[in-house]
């Protein structure tokens, strides 16, 4: 055991002002107290039995888990899968917990509990070691002659700096696909594209909508196309929320008067904040709430932001009714949908 004196504490490095002598002495380590198992052989026996029982619980747990595995064959229903999961998991729990508790109990009751002390050494190397290290490095550097050969120096550095390009250039040029970010500006809505209900693809007539109705809309494309992977990326930009309001409460700017039809308005469903689908439409207040960050838009007033972290209104899709009475887009959105990005307005 090391000396319990604490010279470190007496050194007034931090300038606390306390004199070197005016500190209490370290009383040394706590007195060791005997445990029950140390004093009483019966208690030791008992502890040993407890440890054994815990290991046995673990063995039983493992066996139980294996039995459950082979005996219970879930047939896919919720309840059967849940039961199988519970049986396997509980078996595993006992198998593991038995070992854990047994080992700790063993250590606590039967292994020595005499505290021991070990000396520490400062992390810093001794001065002579440091000097030797510097000398070795200097010797090596001199050996290489690097200091005397500046051209070689430059060549080494340049070569090492350049070689990563052999990996980075091919990677960067391909990792971003075609790097054509102008795609952000367009969706697959075109003049005359019919509006269809997500996810069934049924077309929508203006007469289908009652006041207070809301429809989650996708552009009408062949069903086959909707099963392609490409569709997901297009849908991610093209989804629209269609709402029918009482035309009397609809506030519209002069240039957008023609963008709605009889109180039916269509707005992009992609939040202008960070792109969540804005979908919580409150019929009475005409507010549209984003469930991710609670940006709130007023559908009756140009989908302007009334609360939350979004700044810009949702882009509006101009719509009209075609000869057969179906709702169709007049054109694509007139601005990029979704979150802001640096070149958005360029």
């Amino acid at each position: 055991m090391s000396e319990p004196k604490n010279p470190e504490n007496a050194v007034d490095v931090a300038g606390t002002g306390a004199s070197e002598l005016d500190r209490f002495p370290d009383p040394g380590m706590h007195e060791h107290k005997l445990r029950m198992a140390d004093k009483d052989p019966k208690a030791a026996k008992r502890a040993e039995a407890q440890v054994v029982i815990l290991f046995v619980i673990s063995i039983v747990g493992t066996i139980g888990m294996l039995i459950a595995y082979f005996a219970i064959r879930p047939e896919g229903t919720t309840a059967s899968v849940r039961n199988a999961n519970l049986a396997l998991g509980l078996g595993m729990f006992f198998a593991l917990m038995g070992i854990g508790l047994a080992a700790v109990h063993w250590a606590k009751t039967l292994m020595s509990d005499h505290e021991k002390s070990e000396d520490r050494h400062a992390q810093r190397s001794a001065d002579d070691v440091r000097e030797a290290a510097v000398a070795v490095l200097k010797e090596g550097a001199a050996d290489s002659g690097i200091a005397r050969r500046p051209v070689l120096q430059g060549a080494v550095v340049t070569a090492l700096a350049l070689f990563p390009l052999t990996i980075v250039v091919p990677l960067i040029s391909s990792v971003g696909g075609d790097w054509d970010i102008s795609k952000f500006k367009h969706t697959i809505w075109k003049p005359g594209t019919r509006l269809a209900i997500d996810p069934t693809g049924r077309l929508i007539k203006a007469s289908d909508l009652t006041i207070g109705s809301v429809v989650h809309v996708i552009p009408d494309v062949p069903a086959e196309e909707r099963r392609s992977h490409h569709w997901i990326a297009e849908k991610a930009k093209a989804i629209v929320l269609l709402v029918r309001l009482d035309p009397a409460i609809l506030k519209e700017t002069e240039e957008r008067k023609s963008w709605s039809y009889d109180g039916i308005v269509a707005y992009s469903k992609i939040c202008t904040h960070v792109g969540c689908p804005v979908a919580l439409y409150e019929q009475q207040t005409h507010h549209l709430l984003c469930p991710c960050h609670q940006s709130t838009f007023d559908v009756a007033d140009g989908a302007k932001v009334v609360f939350g972290p979004a700044k810009r209104p949702l882009p509006q899709l101009p719509i009209m009714v075609d000869d057969e009475g179906y709702l169709v887009a007049q054109d694509d959105f007139d601005e990029p949908v979704g979150p802001s990005y640096w070149e958005r307005l360029k």
Partner: protein, 259 residues
Amino acid sequence: MKALAARRHHRFTPVVLLLLALLVTGGLYAALAPTSASADTAATDDIAAGEKLFLANCATCHGVNAEGRDEVPSLIGVGSAAVNFQVGTGRMPMAMNGPQAEAKPAQFDAKQTSQLAAYVASLGPGPSTPTAEQVDPALGDPSMGAQIFRTNCAMCHNAVGAGGALSEGKFAPALTDTTPTHIYEAMLTGPQSMPVFNDATITPEEKRDVIAYLVEQREGSAGGLDLGGIGPVSEGLWIWIVGIGSLIGCAVWIGAKSS
């Protein structure tokens, strides 16, 4: 043709024609008129009883002719479905003004509710209460229902119908205990903040599919306790309480001296 032409001048002809005309008109009316109209003839007594209940319990706010006022909606043309939902779930009569009318034990029994519904339906055509077959979850396709629910409902009611928050203290209630009929009626009529999903935007079959999906959810989760079905936040809460909590307990036991 000749025989017919010969009888055209029969003296009963005007009577027969009149009867025929009446029959066609009536038939056409029966076929084309809103379905709620058929309830009219079925139970005039119900309508009368409903009117009494209405005047006693609802007219204070909705007006004696159910015409509504400032913040109170008119009930003309809302149909029996809306009444059955609002009264059947206890939302109406409203206990007090708040962000929204909340479900509570129903004030009227099933008979009184149907009488009220019959009365309101008689005021003007509107969506009517669905039949038992229309809301039978066994007849629905839970997979189709899951897709419809995910797109149209989950953003407010949560993926498994555990409910969620709207703005300004309003909320979309949990659907865990809602009866299939009430689920159907809520979609059909769009109560309070909820939008209307009429039969053109979500077909009656799709509505039944949604019911099938929601009823399927009542079996709980395959993984064990569903922790409220509200996702990562409750999972996070439980890892701190059960996980870190019990393990710190074990650590304290390991670090403590044995007696």
